[in-house]
């Protein structure tokens, strides 16, 4: 080279980009295995404690895990599982649908205009801090023995979450993108669909995640007292028959089912819908 100041480019770095990618993926897989092992260990310990407690408590108070397992299997085999679970799930989602219909417009107004925020703010905050049990009782008083009670309870619990998150989402809308859209002559409707809505979607998922954790418990609770079908209704049935094993079996199935919806269905859906986010891609 004629110019000695310009050095030759450095040789390839110690770890190439592709190798780095492979290493990172391996580390992620190791972490995943570790987490899975701990998850299983947690369940085993829980079942052991249960088994020991069942052994030492007076006969008939607490059935052991095996008895409950057998009962669960019976419920599954009888087909009751599907019909009653579907009933509970439908009521939960119906309630959440109502929450979206009410909470999203409220949140939209709160996010768009400061005076609407002033109007709704304290009401929404108070509604969000009232114990879920209160909503269950209120729904029972209003609807008595009916399917609408659980729906209303879920709606009441979820609405503040939806409103608060949508409001935050609206405030998070990138005004530069709105201006770009206007410069290119996009209509208000297009801007709402292509800019506002996609901004809010992650916030909606946050709302679902937060409210779901409470909503399905409230749903079941309301069914226990005023349901005509569903998981809570079945739990009350078994209780009235003094079948403790049945009560626990239904409870356990319910927990498993809701964990599946929460962990698998909702998270998978979220990862799919939010695939555009760089951080989502890194994680999957």
């Amino acid at each position: 080279m004629s110019n000695p100041v310009i050095e030759a480019p450095p040789t390839a770095p110690a770890v190439t980009w592709q190798e780095g990618e492979v290493l990172a993926r391996r580390a992620a897989a190791r972490n995943k295995r570790k987490r899975l092992a701990l998850l299983v260990a947690g369940w085993v310990v829980l079942l052991l404690i249960w088994q020991v407690a069942a052994y030492y408590l007076p006969f008939g108070t607490l059935p052991n895990p095996l008895e409950v397992g057998a009962e669960m299997w019976e419920i599954i085999a009888s087909g009751a599982l599907v019909s009653d679970f579907m009933a509970s799930v439908l009521k939960t989602f119906a309630g959440f649908g109502v929450a979206v219909l009410v909470g999203a417009p409220v949140g939209y107004l709160m996010g768009r205009h400061n005076y609407w925020k002033a109007f709704f703010h304290d009401g929404v905050t108070v509604a969000g801090t009232i114990p879920a049990l209160t909503y269950a009782v209120l729904s029972l008083i209003i609807f008595g023995l009916s399917n609408l009670g659980p729906v209303l309870a879920v709606a009441l619990v979820s609405t503040p979450y939806v409103a608060i998150n949508v409001a935050e989402g609206i405030r998070g809308v990138d005004q530069q993108l709105v201006k770009m859209s206007q410069a290119f002559g996009r209509s208000q409707q297009q801007i709402r669909r292509e800019v506002y809505l996609p901004t809010i979607v992650p916030y909606m998922f946050a709302a679902v995640r937060m409210s779901f954790a409470v909503a399905w418990k409230v749903e079941a609770l309301t069914e226990v007292f005023g349901g005509t079908n569903g998981v809570g209704f079945q739990i009350r049935n078994e209780y009235q028959l003094f079948n403790i094993t049945g009560v626990i079996a239904w409870m356990a199935l319910f927990i498993v089912f809701m964990l599946i919806i929460e962990r698998l269905v909702l998270r998978k859906l979220e990862a799919k819908v939010l695939a555009w986010r760089p951080e989502e891609r890194v994680r999957t």
């Binding site: 530069q176 206007q182 996609p198 555009w276 986010r277 891609r281």
Partner: protein, 254 residues
């Protein structure tokens, strides 16, 4: 291509109040045909305001302004902003289609043609977050060209990019522009960039008056490495020294 006429244009923000701020002061110029005009001036001298008035996003206080296509119809405008301003949740191709009025076969083919032109023909299905800043800005440029505007408005489109990327994009912009025959109004605070790209440079001074209106008569395609370009760049810079002498805040702002 478009005909842009600006006649005795003034803009005062907060007119009639104690904090009235005259930003554009009796601006007159016109642009027609396949011309590349740069508007140059230090930060805060009203360049973006002028563009916003041209595009109708901002009102003016007095004077006249009109933008029409050559055929005398209302002009279609295209924009390239300082940052890419892409929808992060839409693929590159969907971003381009978003600002189109139709979503038919012809439109899609046109969108792909312009993506090819900026060298991103293989990246149509990528999300913006998967591209580098320079690539995103190229999408922004392709998006503006793909609406086939009569008048293309660019507001400091390369100022957020590193020098090497900006240099590559300037070359690419010239090539696309040469093929597409559009009127371009290009805002920059970088005189060197303006000389490389423009047929004509309108220099604004702080306070929003036109300081000079310079015609750049150099053969195309121009490249920054071309000595003739460098010579003219030095010459224009020297002429603008006078403005700095007259208005000391320029040196600080620019």
């Amino acid at each position: 291509m478009a005909v842009l006429t600006v006649n005795d244009l003034c803009k005062t923000f907060g007119a009639g109040t104690a904090r009235a701020n005259r930003v554009l002061d009796h601006i007159t110029f016109d642009v027609r045909g396949q011309t590349f005009v740069s508007i140059v001036g230090p930060s805060g001298c009203g360049k973006s305001t002028l563009l916003n008035i041209i595009s109708g996003v901002e009102t003016h206080t007095s004077g006249e302004i009109s933008v029409t296509s050559d055929a005398g119809k209302p002009a279609r405008l295209g924009y390239v902003f300082q940052d890419p301003r892409l929808l992060p949740w839409r693929s590159v191709r969907r971003n381009m289609l978003y600002v189109q009025d139709a979503d038919d076969e012809v439109t899609r083919r046109r969108v792909d043609t312009y993506l090819d032109m900026v060298g991103l023909g293989k990246h149509g299905d990528f999300f913006p977050g998967q591209l580098s800043g320079g690539m995103q800005q190229r999408v922004g440029i392709a998006r503006a060209f793909a609406v086939e505007p009569d008048l293309l408005i660019m507001d400091e489109p390369f100022s957020h990019l590193d020098a090497i990327t900006a240099r590559g994009l300037r070359a690419q912009l010239q090539d696309i522009w040469a093929q597409s025959k559009k009127t371009v109004v290009f805002v920059t605070h970088d005189v060197v960039e303006a000389v490389e790209l423009s047929d004509r440079i309108i220099v604004l001074q702080p306070g929003g008056r036109i300081f000079e209106d310079i015609t750049i008569d150099l053969p195309r395609p121009r490249r920054q490495s071309d000595p003739a370009v460098a010579t003219l760049q030095a010459e224009v810079l020297a002429r603008l020294e006078n403005m700095k002498a007259m208005t000391p805040q320029v040196a600080a702002a620019g």
